[in-house]
């Protein structure tokens, strides 16, 4: 059944979108990630204009991270103080990201920027995740006794503006934390991703945040930045399609429920390996767009339409 998208100005098959968002919701429920990094590319490859895909997915991520945050909050698995610092950085990053997004759109480079960023970001991060998880899987097979590595305090903890984060059992400067949030939310606003798959490992490896609070805390930041992104995309480029966002949320919510159950029976290393393969897959799919000779060298972009 086709449904007309009033902002994208195109009809789309409702069941394709619901099925797609349910599948992405299943994966996001399983891995505890937002799933924007799969949803946005899916929509772009379905033929939704990239700008509308990016903006509408931010509304969907806001919804799914709200659901996630509530359940982590109930289990008391959120470091609200750390979350607020991340939000502060996130607000700046999102704002910069939207400015960049609109500038690139005006110059006509938006699609190239989205494709190249996906290629670069996803190949690098997917590759790193794959290496790390392969190592973990191999180590698990050797069944080495798990010895907690002795952690040194990294130099960037000692920068000015230090704060104590009780829930995360750390005392560190807010500057590197805010810088991380700025970078991730910048990418999030431009690419239509929540960035959970970047910020979660970063908090664990760079800031030694305990795994028990890391997902809940990052969801707090993602929720906030995606709300800001949704509003700013609406205000500055009018590309949030509410009908599309609604379909994505409904599909995503249903999928996430089943995904969360499936995820409970999965080993942590296998889990990370699968996630790494998916991230890398998205990067390679985008890479094929610019490496393989296109069928048609010409393309048309509508700049302005008479009303």
């Amino acid at each position: 059944m086709e449904i007309y998208l009033p902002i994208a100005e195109m009809p789309i098959n409702m069941f394709t979108i619901l099925g797609m968002s349910a599948a992405v919701g299943f994966i996001s429920g399983m891995f505890g990630v937002g799933g924007g990094f799969l949803m946005t590319p899916f929509l772009i490859f379905t033929g939704v204009p990239p700008a509308i895909a990016v903006a509408s997915v931010s509304a969907q991520i806001a919804g799914s991270s709200m659901t996630g945050l509530i359940s982590y909050w109930r289990r008391n698995a959120v470091d609200a103080r750390l979350g607020l610092v991340l939000i502060g950085g996130g607000a700046v990053g999102t704002w910069l990201g939207i400015l960049f997004f609109n500038q690139m759109r005006r110059l006509g480079h938006l699609e190239l920027v989205i494709v190249l960023s996906y290629v670069a970001l996803f190949s690098v991060i997917g590759g790193l995740m794959l290496l790390e998880s392969l190592r973990a899987v191999l180590h698990a097979q050797k069944a080495r006794p798990a010895t907690a590595p002795k952690r040194e305090r990294p130099w960037y903890f000692e920068l000015p503006l230090r704060m104590i984060f009780h829930r995360s059992r750390m005392a560190a400067s807010v500057l590197p934390i805010a810088a991380l949030a700025i970078g991730v939310s910048f990418a999030g606003a431009v690419l239509g991703i929540g960035g959970g798959f970047i910020i979660v490992p970063a908090l664990i490896y760079l800031f030694h945040v305990p795994t028990s609070v890391v997902i809940g805390t990052s969801l707090m930041q993602i929720l906030f930045t995606m709300i800001v992104a949704t509003v700013l995309h609406s205000v500055t480029n009018q590309s949030v399609d509410m009908v599309l966002a609604l379909l994505l949320i409904i599909g995503g919510v249903i999928g996430a429920q089943f995904g969360a159950r499936a995820g409970q029976n999965l080993r942590a290393e296998v889990f990370r390996l699968l996630l790494a393969i998916m991230v890398l897959g998205v990067g390679l799919r985008f890479a094929s767009e610019i490496i393989v000779r296109p069928n048609d060298l010409f393309s048309v972009r509508v700049e302005q339409r008479a009303r």
């Binding site: 007309y4 949030v240 490496i291 339409r305 009303r307």
Partner: protein, 254 residues
């Protein structure tokens, strides 16, 4: 200016009184609504050739060329080139005011109705119509290549089309044509231009139009997004949050 020129040309080639056919044109609808289940639309166009005492007999019969032009758009046509092993957009041309939809329906293949160079002058056919929208000065072969690419791409996507037998004869003087709008056809005003010819000579020309508009809910959303972006954005974010919260209530495990 362009329109004025076209009118002058039409006045020159259509001397008043010498040929006495006139055209009566009717569309099945002047307003096509986009609703939530919209997947494109079909319109019927009827044309009646009216003859009077001065009309001479046309041995080879009449020919009709119907040109449907969608709302004007400014587009950028880009060409990919290989740079450091990557296919990226290298060259581009800005084409102002090209039709967002274009369809040429004829009673026979256009080249049988009129010779190509005269068709060009009368703006009959896909490429001539697109070319006519572009400024003539400094027109290079490269520009022509980009225009041809635009027509080809839009032909493939169904926004531009040519139907050799899109106009059918109901009786000797009554013609009928189906106008097909694909789902992706842009919202706005559509101009239907009908030209009557016999033996390669244009006899009469009539223009009418119809509108493609979003209906109730679709229009409401589109208007809200454009006219009240702050309210729209906050509403979209609020909708997402409320749905997220509802799902956490609905699927609460304890």
């Amino acid at each position: 200016m362009k329109r004025l020129a076209a009118l002058l040309i039409a006045a020159l080639i259509l001397p008043q009184g010498a040929r006495a056919e006139s055209l009566l044109v009717s569309l099945s609808s002047h307003r096509v609504l986009i609703e939530s289940n919209y997947t494109g639309a079909q319109l019927a166009a009827f044309a009646v050739v009216e003859r009077d005492a001065r009309s001479v007999a046309r041995i080879n019969g009449y020919d009709l060329v119907i040109t449907i032009r969608g709302p004007r758009e400014d587009v950028v046509v880009q060409e990919k080139r290989r740079v450091f092993g990557l296919w990226v957009n290298q060259r581009q041309r800005f084409l102002a005011g090209v039709p967002g939809y274009l369809s040429v329906l004829t009673s026979r293949p256009l080249q049988d109705i009129i010779e190509p160079d005269r068709a060009q002058r009368l703006n009959l056919g896909l490429l001539p119509v697109v070319t006519a929208t572009q400024p003539r000065d400094n027109d290079t072969a490269r520009d022509a290549e980009f225009r041809a690419a635009l027509v080809r791409l839009r032909y493939e996507s169904g926004l531009y089309g040519e139907k050799e037998r899109g106009v059918s004869l109901l009786t000797a003087n009554v013609f009928q044509a189906q106008i097909a709008l694909p789902a992706t056809a842009p919202v706005g005003n559509y101009e239907v231009d009908i030209m009557l010819l016999a033996d390669s000579v244009p006899l009469a020309r009539q223009t009418t139009n119809f509108e493609l508009v979003k209906s109730g809910f679709e229009q409401l959303i589109a208007d809200a997004a454009r006219q009240h972006p702050w309210i729209y954005g906050v509403a979209a974010a609020a909708l997402s949050i409320v749905l997220g919260w509802l799902s956490s209530v609905a699927f609460r495990k304890d």
